[in-house]
């Protein structure tokens, strides 16, 4: 009998255990996506080379405090590729400095980008890719079908959809990064398009889709039901048409929907505080979501700056934050708690006081719907594998799946 592998989502480079350092190189973007959490985007704040260099010098000087085996140098915006010349200079400097200092991150680093894909084929971006090919991960955001994508991802100036400008670059991207994945973010108006969007992305050749619902409190009456129906119908398509062999969609995971042990499974969900972000003004944040342009109702949560360094006291709450200290009893006792994610930045933004210790549960009914559809998916898939004599093979090759939320 022919062996069938089941495609699982990538668990992230170095299993997500690398230090993640983000440069917010610009707060500008060609698009004005409707769901974009960056409420304070602007054209003025672009990182200067001086600030970038000071940040790098400071970070590399702190080798003793940054013991993670590997590093992901992440570049975000706005749209990071708008600043490709600066990024190129930063990356050159990083490589030289890590080498000259004999830093333990030399040879264990990646440059990572999440781009809207619009100027992916530009000469400068392509030159950068050629130069750094072995240390790159680039994700292009495309939301699904043209209708779904253009519902949200519109040009700032014209208000027109950006689908065509992005999709023309997908073949080149997949040629260069055959395992490139895309992140899809679902908000209330996107729910009816989930199934067709995922299948459309598969049809473009994108094998890995990391898909999440937003953490903000945007959900309307009945959204959960509709969401569940979409996920079940997508499950039918993935299983009936055999996509599960080569394609992955992070909505379905065997690890979600189980109770969590209060002692053994008490870790925080996200890596804020273990990550580090720096903006154009040289201010350090526990993650980009704590920068002012990402926050609706709260003041920026800074942890230092390139001149004075990081205030370690301000990192302490992030490094001791656990599930129980921020969750309501209902979540602690929840029978389907595993996989129910949160974003520390959104928690802070939505909290009743200035704290990261109040978990936002706006996602609750959507997680419950996801768990039901997920149960359906695995029951159906296992039955099929069973009938086809594939189940044992599958159980043997099982891998952990990690949901990426930011």
């Amino acid at each position: 009998m022919e062996k069938e592998a089941i495609k699982k989502n990538d668990t992230g480079w170095k299993n997500g255990m690398a230090k993640n350092i983000t440069f917010i190189v610009t707060k500008d973007c060609q698009l004005a996506c409707k769901y974009c959490y960056l409420v304070g985007k602007n054209e003025k704040e672009r990182m200067s080379w001086e600030v970038a260099k000071m940040a790098i010098d400071y970070i590399l000087d702190q080798e003793d405090d940054m013991q993670e085996e590997s590093v992901v140098w992440d570049f975000i915006g706005g749209e990071p590729f708008l600043e490709i010349e600066l990024i190129d200079k930063i990356c050159d400097y990083l490589k030289i400095e890590m080498f000259q200092r004999n830093h333990h991150w030399f040879n264990s680093y990646r440059f990572s980008f999440s781009t809207n894909g619009i100027n992916y084929d530009s000469e400068k971006v392509q030159e950068f890719i050629r130069k750094n090919r072995d240390h790159l991960s680039i994700g292009i955001t495309i939301d699904g079908t043209e209708v779904k994508h253009d519902l949200n991802r519109i040009y700032k100036v014209t208000g027109k959809g950006s689908y065509k400008s992005v999709v023309r670059n997908i073949p080149l991207w997949l040629e260069q990064f055959p395992y490139g994945g895309t992140k899809v973010t679902i908000s209330s108006p996107d729910i009816p398009y989930i199934k067709e969007s995922v299948l459309h992305l598969y049809s473009l050749g994108i094998k890995e889709i990391n898909i999440n619902v937003v953490f903000e409190n945007v959900w309307k009456e009945g959204d959960d039901k509709l969401f569940e129906e979409q996920l079940m119908s997508l499950a039918d398509a993935i299983i009936d048409e055999g996509y599960y062999k080569d394609y992955a969609c992070s909505f379905y995971s065997e690890n979600i929907g189980k109770p969590l042990d209060p002692i053994l499974e008490n870790t925080n969900w996200c890596g804020a505080g273990r990550m580090l972000a720096v903006d154009a003004n040289g201010i350090f944040y526990p993650c980009t979501r704590f920068a002012q342009y990402s926050l609706r109702d709260k003041k920026a949560w800074t942890i230092g700056n390139v001149n004075d360094g990081i205030d370690k006291n301000r990192l302490r709450p992030f490094l001791v934050l656990d599930r129980l200290s921020q969750s309501k009893q209902e979540c602690i006792d929840c029978e389907i708690a595993s996989g129910c994610a949160w974003c520390q930045g959104e928690n802070y933004d939505a909290a009743e006081s200035n704290t990261i210790f109040q978990r936002s549960t706006a996602i609750c009914k959507m997680h419950k719907a996801r768990v039901r559809a997920n149960n359906y998916y695995w029951n159906k898939l296992y039955r099929k594998l069973e009938l086809e004599g594939q189940r044992e093979e599958y159980e043997k090759n099982k891998k952990e799946v990690k949901q990426e939320i930011c």
Binding site: W301, K312, N313, R314, R316, P317, L319, V320, L321, D322, S325, A351, E352, S353, N354, T355, I356, F357, Q358
Partner: protein, 318 residues
Amino acid sequence: MLQYLIILLDDTSTSYCHYENPKKDAGLIPLNILKAGIRFGMVENLMIQFVYPDYELPGEYKEAIESIDHSKIVSSLCNDKSLADEADVIVFHDWSGISYAMTFPDKSYVLRTTKAKLFERYLFLKEFLSKVARLNIVITDIETFDDGDYEQYKLILHTLSENIEKMYVDGLAPQLNLLTDRIMLKEMNNCGAGDTNITLAPNGKFYICHAFYIENEDDCIGDVKRGLDIKNKQLYKLKYSPICSHCDAYQCKRCVWLNRKTTLEVNTPSHEQCVVAHLERNSSCELLKSIRKHGKFLPETEIQEIDYLDPFDKRKEW
């Protein structure tokens, strides 16, 4: 559980803790608010503590205050000298006061001091300790401690501990929060602001503590008319502090105001607060051993030797 209501009788009420009160203009609590505060304390079954300004209060205020069981916190510089006798806690803001003031053997005293002054003048404390029921030392700049300060503080605690040991041998039972509290305690006994106590300010609003009122009057947690509304009130409880709930420096103030100032979270202490409290804890452990050399003393109490000064450093073992 809420047990105490602290009422600030004036905007210039004395600081009795880590913060400074820079307010210079008198702003007496309106009598109706004072009475409403007292009523709140009565119906909620709270023990009331009044914090006095340095001038004498009008007669009707004294009357209102005496209408309820309470304790008084008064500055040593208060002009109403009759209060020196009535006060339950007398606060010194400087060291000259402590050398010359008339002391009462049955009263508790607070000495607010910077680390520099403490390091310079700690030898004065020996005599003072033998004359009073209890002395609480509050260091007003804990957040500025550095490695050199920790070393010096350790030596000072050692000297004070030797003094206290001698007093015990002489049959006295001095109480100095930094060294004797940990020996007596079996569980955490922290400041409790926002959990066991709240503060009523002269504007009729409640605050987590006096320091929160001074820092930002908008940062209130309710008022006498509508009652209390503490957002995320669980965060003031020990259980919701991941670091403190793994700690046995039971004497530590666990100052939620300093926590917020240094780490931005009321439930997360700074490294400096933890190290200072652990130096005290470890010196208390030494003191206990020294006293026991002279005979049986608190046989039930045990303070373990530990290899850290900041529980945060042990977080991987939690």
